[in-house]
């Protein structure tokens, strides 16, 4: 038996979490360093996975399979396809930056405050989230996936509720109330989604007799497993609902602005760049593979909801007064694009959607982390409290602008490639929806530039006049992200090469072919 | 004598006991009413045993008596300690599940 590489990518951060939590309270910095070390080693391991993965090879690679609960046919089955491997790499890549950016977020409060802040816990929870997210990207057993899909809520709940942002316009008391509201809202939304999914998982077992994704998908393709149309649709809806909450899709989105607004910037990145990706990833992997007919049946409604998400999220982002909530609504708009790409059911759309997941992770991380640095300097999340920052902190303003430009999908930066692919893939099948979604790019420019203008330009406000520029630690966080944004914008081929075969497989699962160009079709 | 009459008696005793549990406040009286209900059940068991001609009912009646005896031991101890701390044996005073 070969070395269980995939298990290792998840076990390593889990061990890291335990180890970090076990560091004595006084050795705070040792705990931080340990967490960073584990996240870096996980990254190295993820790179090994990436290298070992052969895009032209079998669909699921590096597979592991062990019996777990034999009575119910639950197996411990791991495996990655091109889409999974890209997202595992993204997760492993972002966590070190999250840890580094949150270096001081969980330090004990200034003396005199009685609140207890377990610094170690913060970093241990981040690593725990990493372990579970990676496992849910790797699990090919539906039940196994479900367990981690739900379990990651627990550490996330504590990260939002316990280590939230203390900057609040109405003082710390209000911040605390808001924070618990946000954490509970996050938990309830996702639990409801998860419970409905649990019902569907059980229903799937009743129908199929096991939980193995590959076996069920194979049986469905062979025709040996027949599902009644209504059964398939109900099961699809059960799965999709959970993923749509996680993603989040309009109108199930309202937990995201609260959660991202109240969490500290690194945790907000963790939510939107990593955890939410499980939702869109699972749509591609589970909804389309297990329920191809129902997916096609639901497509029109989902596309409309996705377009509403795009436009609605962008419009609400324009109207926000709070920097972090603005980014959250922008993310809702971006998730609309991802879901649009998945359900357009074209190669361009789905490749674009997968690429979008990766690029959105990086670009939101860049924007949100710089926003976090900005907020930590001034102690306020309100856009109106800033002005003229670029005069006093030009590097901060410059990186913020690049993050913003990535968010508005400027060509030359990574998100452009994915956004254009999604749009072109949608347009090829549904021109009207494609055109409406294109309005999103104008609105994206609006909210990004308004944010930049109000915070960074204009006369310098007295409160920001002494603001220091980015420090070395912060530059270490931001620079690689920006380099990646530019690199993947100019040369996305390494990622598309990995993703394309998996997308081709997924499309053949749902029996969809790309529409032919008109001129060619006419011949 | 028709054994059904014993059943009527058992029902009557049970009703008296139940009413006592519901309307009396004194813990001792409530307790005794519970005993009354248990014994009404015993009477019914024995009657059924007689009517059906097997011993199951009588055996269960013994069990009930054992359980009732155990209950008396625990229950009286609780009532005594309640009375010691509160100087009252009213069940309504003990609504907080603590002393």
């Amino acid at each position: 038996m070969s070395f269980p590489l995939l298990t290792a990518t998840a076990v390593l951060p889990a061990i890291g979490a335990v180890a970090t939590a076990a560091v004595p309270a006084a050795r705070r910095n040792a705990a931080k360093a340990l967490a960073l070390l584990f996240s870096l080693v996980t990254l190295a391991l993820a790179i090994v996975v990436l290298v070992r993965f052969d895009p032209g090879g079998a669909r699921y690679q590096l597979t592991e399979s062990h019996s777990w609960i034999a009575e119910f046919g639950v197996r411990y089955e791991l495996g990655v396809d091109g889409i999974g491997v890209a997202l595992v790499a993204l997760t492993a890549l972002l966590i070190p930056f999250v840890i580094l950016a949150g270096w001081h977020d969980a330090d004990p409060l200034e003396t005199g405050s009685k609140r207890w802040r377990p610094t170690q816990g913060f970093f241990a929870l981040i690593l725990a989230v990493e372990a579970m997210v990676i496992l849910s990207f790797e699990a090919t057993d539906v039940f196994l996936f479900y367990i981690f899909f739900e379990a990651m809520l627990i550490p996330m709940y504590f990260l939002i509720g316990g280590f939230g942002d203390r900057a609040h316009e109405h003082g710390e008391e209000a911040a605390s109330t808001q924070r618990s509201y946000a954490a509970v809202k996050f938990l309830l939304y996702n639990l409801v989604g998860g419970l409905i999914m649990l019902a569907a998982v059980i229903g799937l077992y009743v129908v199929a007799g096991n939980f193995s994704l590959a076996e069920i998908a194979q049986a469905r393709a062979d025709g040996t497993l027949h599902m009644a149309t209504s059964t398939e649709r109900w099961l699809f809806l059960g799965f999709f609902f959970a993923f749509a909450v996680k993603a989040p899709l309009w109108p199930l989105h309202t937990w995201l602005p609260n959660a991202m607004g109240e969490a500290t910037a690194p945790v907000a990145v963790l939510i939107t760049a990593v955890v939410d990706k499980v939702g869109t990833f699972a749509m591609l992997r589970f909804c389309l593979q297990l329920f191809p007919e129902a997916s096609k049946w639901a497509t029109p409604v989902i596309l409309v909801l996705a377009v509403i998400s795009i436009v609605y999220g962008a419009l609400l982002a324009v109207g926000q007064r709070d920097i972090k909530r603005l980014v959250a609504y922008a993310s809702i708009s971006h998730f609309g694009f991802i879901i649009l790409g998945i359900f357009a059911m074209t190669s361009q759309g789905q490749s674009g959607a997968t690429l979008y997941m990766v690029n959105h992770g990086i670009s939101t991380a860049a924007l949100m982390l710089v926003a976090g640095f900005l907020i930590s300097r001034r102690g306020s999340r309100l856009i109106a409290d800033y002005g003229g920052v670029q005069k006093v902190a030009p590097v901060l303003a410059g990186t913020f602008l690049i993050g913003g430009l990535a968010t508005l999908s400027l060509p030359g930066l990574a998100p452009f490639v994915s956004e254009f692919l999604v749009l072109v893939g949608t347009f090829a099948r549904y021109p009207a929806i494609g055109i409406i979604a294109t309005f999103g790019i104008v609105l994206a420019a609006l909210y990004t530039l308004v944010l930049y203008q109000r915070t960074m330009t204009g006369p310098v406000k007295p409160e920001v006049s002494a603001m220091p520029d980015l420090r070395a630690r912060e530059l270490v966080v931001v620079t690689p992200l920006i380099v990646l944004l530019i690199f993947l914008g100019v040369y996305p081929k390494p990622v598309t090469d990995i993703v394309n075969p998996a997308v081709k497989q997924t499309l053949s699962d749902v029996h969809k072919k790309d529409p032919k160009p008109e001129v060619e079709a006419a011949k | 004598m028709n054994p059904v009459n014993y059943l009527y008696l058992a029902a009557l005793l049970f009703t008296i006991g139940a009413t006592g549990v519901l309307i009396r406040r004194n813990a001792i009286v409530v307790f005794m009413c519970i005993e009354l209900m248990l014994n009404a059940c015993n009477l019914a068991f024995v009657t059924f045993s007689r009517m059906h001609g097997n011993l199951d009912g009588q055996i269960i009646a013994f069990f009930t008596m054992v359980v009732a005896a155990a209950e008396v031991v625990v229950g009286l101890a609780i009532i005594v300690s309640l009375f010691r701390s509160r100087h009252s044996a009213s069940v309504d005073d003990a609504s907080l599940m603590k002393l």
Partner: protein, 654 residues
Amino acid sequence: MENLIALLIAAPLLGAAVLLVGGRRLDAVGQWVGTLLSTVSFVLGLVLFGDLLGRSAEDRTLTQHLFSWIPVEGFQADVGFRLDQLSMTFVLLITGVGSLIHLYSVGYMEHDERRRRFFGYLNLFLAAMLLLVLADNYLLLYVGWEGVGLASYLLIGFWQHKPSAATAAKKAFLVNRVGDMGLSIAIMLMFTTFGTFAFGPLLGAEGQQGIAGDASEGKLTAIALMLLLAACGKSAQVPLQSWLGDAMEGPTPVSALIHAATMVTAGVYLIVRSAAIFNGAPDAQLVVTVVGAVTLLFGAIVGCAKDDIKKALAGSTMSQIGYMVLAAGLGPIGYVFAIMHLVTHGFFKAGLFLGAGSVMHGMNDEVDMRKYGGLRKYMPVTFVTFGLGYLAIIGFPGLSGFFSKDKIIEAAFAKGGAEGWILGGCALLGAAITAYYMTRVMLMTFFGEERWKNQPTRSPEAPSAEPAAAHHGEHAEPHPHESPKVMTIPMIVLAFGSVFAGGFFSIGDRFLHWLEPVTGHSEGDSPLSVAAVTGATMVCLVIGVGIAYAQYGRRPVPVVAPRGSLLTRAARRDLLQDDFNHVVLVRGGEHLTRSLVYVDHTLVDGVVNGTAASVGGLSGRLRRLQNGFARSYAVSMFGGAAVLVAATLLMRAV
């Protein structure tokens, strides 16, 4: 030779990277690094130009394929370049004028502490613009297209501490994004229609016919209209023209390079480059000519009313690009002349802007022409070069504008039929107005009495428009002086171009023969003879100059602008376009977003919070049942038992 094409773009891109990332160390030499790399690009352009000239006319297309950019099943976008006569023309214009303006900026921005960044942005612009004209497919062109938009955004808002500059920059980017939407929809349409958006297969290459003609006319019209939308955004054509006037908030060299000579003409490039598509969509071509004609009048009218010298020139730019778009809409009759006017306009408009910058440099950054006057004595070089640019733009016989604009007017008439008469008439009217407003600018600036004497130029509250020269002392009376050599030399060079380029291009139809293999050309049949059109143009010119002289040359110019007629007041406000934008888009948008925020909070979130609240209320009520009284539990127990017994009996009875 082909491999040089990438270097052409790489040189300024390297400059941008070095200057923007390099940090303060490069502050002292930044301007020379930028200028040097832009000159390198120009020299490379000349080398390539020499190479092209050495080939036969059919063989003048160089291609370079760098790497596969976005390879996805059925979708192939490459990073590759295509250098033919059309892009070569642009390359020389961009790098040539660009290098001159870099040089000029060395003087102009001398005292700006963020000079290094300015040159970084300028280099970024050059790289993006070169990418735009050299790309061999529409998606890569789109990268350049948005890249120049970004550079323009950064440069308009270069003095970010001025809220007006930051707002203008944002406005420019947003309006351009609306146009970009058109371009991206056009690319999507091309993809679904043809399966490709590369120039080679689509528009034809190496003598082969492209597949652009194979599609239905409806599809081609749709694509062409979307391309036109893109062109309207980038080239400030009605209805997306509103950003150009505000864009004058940027430093003057930026206005000269980006918002006069090069970037704003990208729309014309796009239309001419897509000739194969437009030729198959006559309806779209008609729309193009209408847009061009409307804009050329619109811009000219706005130019007449502005007192701000840069905004008057901006109106003129719009108007001149209107001419080019009109010509491009005429199809093969006009493509060559659109590009020719574009090149000559690049020379004289850049020269005019640099002249305006020089005037402002000497006048404490005053931009109001009513506070100029009689400057010809103080700035002789500026006066002469500006004057030559002036003569060129109004189409004085023998100068550049005369040749290029005249050809467009001829081509408009040659369109034939009623359309030809209307378009030609508009073009002639435009020529008259051009003569009027440019004479007005000339007279108000360099002639008449010296209105700047004995009055402080600037109230203390008003922030300096061009802080580059803030060292002059803000409130003193201006002391007009000639600008340093580093600024006047580019102006002189451009003045040469303004004078001779048109003649050089036209003698022996050189420019026509050069571009014809790419754009194609047909003569059309004009109802008027060439001499008649030229005569009419001259009459228009004389009328325009005459009226302006009567108004501004013979009577003193009031320092405070008179109220003016209704039209004047509307024109000062960009013919109420801005008011429309403000009321409908800005206000409307604010209301929309605000109400959506409210809806999201109360309705979408409200449903959830309401559910949570009602569950909470219900459980609160249920909690009251758990009161701790043993007897109440006993009641519920007996009740439950009774219900059970009753149910059992009932079931049995049934």
